[in-house]
């Protein structure tokens, strides 16, 4: 009986030792899941992309979502800068993070009036590409304890992203001229009809 008890204690001790050895082997981590590396967007258009963050490790983590400098030029909306990622969040259950971009007006137009009106676009320029990365940075990284020299450590993961700005060619737009003709002709017609009415009186 005593032998059995000792065996059980030994087994328990071994189990605790094994856990104690294995547990400190990993900490919280960060993961990124993506299914788009490039997006073709017409100029002056808003488009949204979704990336996913996950943490398959045993500790909870906080992650900061950061876009590289070049992409920051065109970002118009970022859902959240810091995300809480619970432990054991697998890639299949990754948490989506949405970004929206508004592409600028880049390509030149050939205009007849005031550089704005009666324009046509030929798209002879090279396609503008904003190339950068979406980076997920561990947000709760410990600072180095004061009074101890050394380096704090931070981890991140990233995915590449290219936003290609598409030029959409169009023929000269005469709408302003048509509207002007409609207005002028309408005014002249109205004046003419009013005069006619007054004469009849």
């Amino acid at each position: 009986m005593k032998n059995k008890e000792v065996k059980n204690w030994n087994f328990l001790l071994l189990f605790v030792l094994l856990i104690a050895i294995l547990l400190p082997l990993c900490s919280a981590g960060v993961g990124i899941s993506w299914n788009k590396e490039s997006s073709l967007v017409p100029e002056n258009t808003k488009t949204c992309l979704t990336y996913k963050v996950y943490n398959p490790w045993p500790d909870d983590s906080y992650a900061q979502v950061k876009l590289s400098e070049e992409l920051m030029q065109i970002i118009s909306y970022q859902e959240s800068e810091t995300e809480f990622i619970p432990h054991d969040t697998s890639s299949a259950n990754a948490i989506p993070v949405e970004f929206c971009f508004k592409t600028p007006k880049i390509y030149k137009e050939n205009c007849w009036l005031f550089n704005e009106l009666v324009c046509k676009k030929e798209c002879k320029e090279e396609m503008k590409i904003y190339e950068g990365e979406v980076e997920i940075i561990e947000a709760d990284a410990p600072e180095v304890v004061e009074g101890s020299g050394g380096s704090a450590t931070k981890m991140s993961v990233s995915a590449p992203l290219r936003v290609k700005v598409q030029c959409v060619p169009h023929a000269r737009d005469y709408s302003v001229i048509y509207i002007a003709v409609i207005l002028i002709a309408g005014i002249l017609l109205t004046i003419n009809l009013i005069r006619r009415k007054n004469k009849k009186k």
Binding site: S91, V144, G149, Y174
Partner: protein, 198 residues
């Protein structure tokens, strides 16, 4: 029926209005028909995912202990040789690639700047070095492969397979004449899809 000048004038105005209206509609037909050129097209649909974590000693920071004689060359970080399972004297600084990844990973490393103390004295970053390897034992990663840290990301591990680890050792030189104090900085590790640039 008699067409006088005024009738022709009015007819011309009405014709101008109608013609302009027609041309305006034709010009903007795309808009009226609901066809918009501002649709978004994406051209890659392959799903990729990767995740990394630190060993607990790497997560806690890299320390070089108390240095009391100068100059000191290649002072070992405190956990460079203290992992003794399954073999002796392995490094306890490593980055794990999760098995829940579907792409091999390259690791990039950089520091945020020189090591600085509270009095703003500087220990130049070039004095902090590292070596890395996908295996570890008492001699690997080896000091003969040491590389100085820089403030830009450089590749520190390439094509690390899913479920594998990348092991590191760190060393610090402290030149003669260096002011006393606790010097700190931050080292960043970034996991990227294998083959991409840092």
């Amino acid at each position: 029926m008699v067409f006088n000048g005024k009738f022709i004038y009015r007819g011309f105005l009405i014709f101008s209005i109608l013609l302009s209206l027609l041309l305006l509609i034709l010009q903007n037909l795309n808009y009226f028909s609901g066809f918009s050129i501002s649709e978004t097209t994406s051209n890659v649909t392959v799903n990729k995912y990767l995740s990394i974590t630190f060993s607990s000693n790497l997560s806690g920071g890299i320390f070089f202990g108390l240095i009391s004689s100068l100059p000191t060359i290649n002072q070992n970080a405190t956990h460079n040789y203290d992992k003794n399972f399954p073999t002796q004297n392995q490094t306890d600084y490593y980055v794990n690639i999760s098995t829940d990844s579907n792409t091999n990973v390259d690791l990039c490393i950089k520091a945020d700047g020189n090591l600085v103390n509270l009095a703003n004295d500087i220990l130049k970053l070039g004095n902090e070095t590292y070596a890395n390897s996908t295996i570890t034992n008492s001699s690997v990663p080896s000091i003969s492969d040491e590389i100085s840290l820089t403030t830009s990301y450089i590749k520190s591990g390439e094509n690390i397979a899913v479920g594998e680890a990348n092991y590191y050792r760190f060393w610090l030189d402290v030149p003669i004449g260096q002011q006393s104090g606790d010097y700190n900085n931050t080292i960043n590790f970034k996991g990227i899809q294998a083959g991409e640039s840092c």
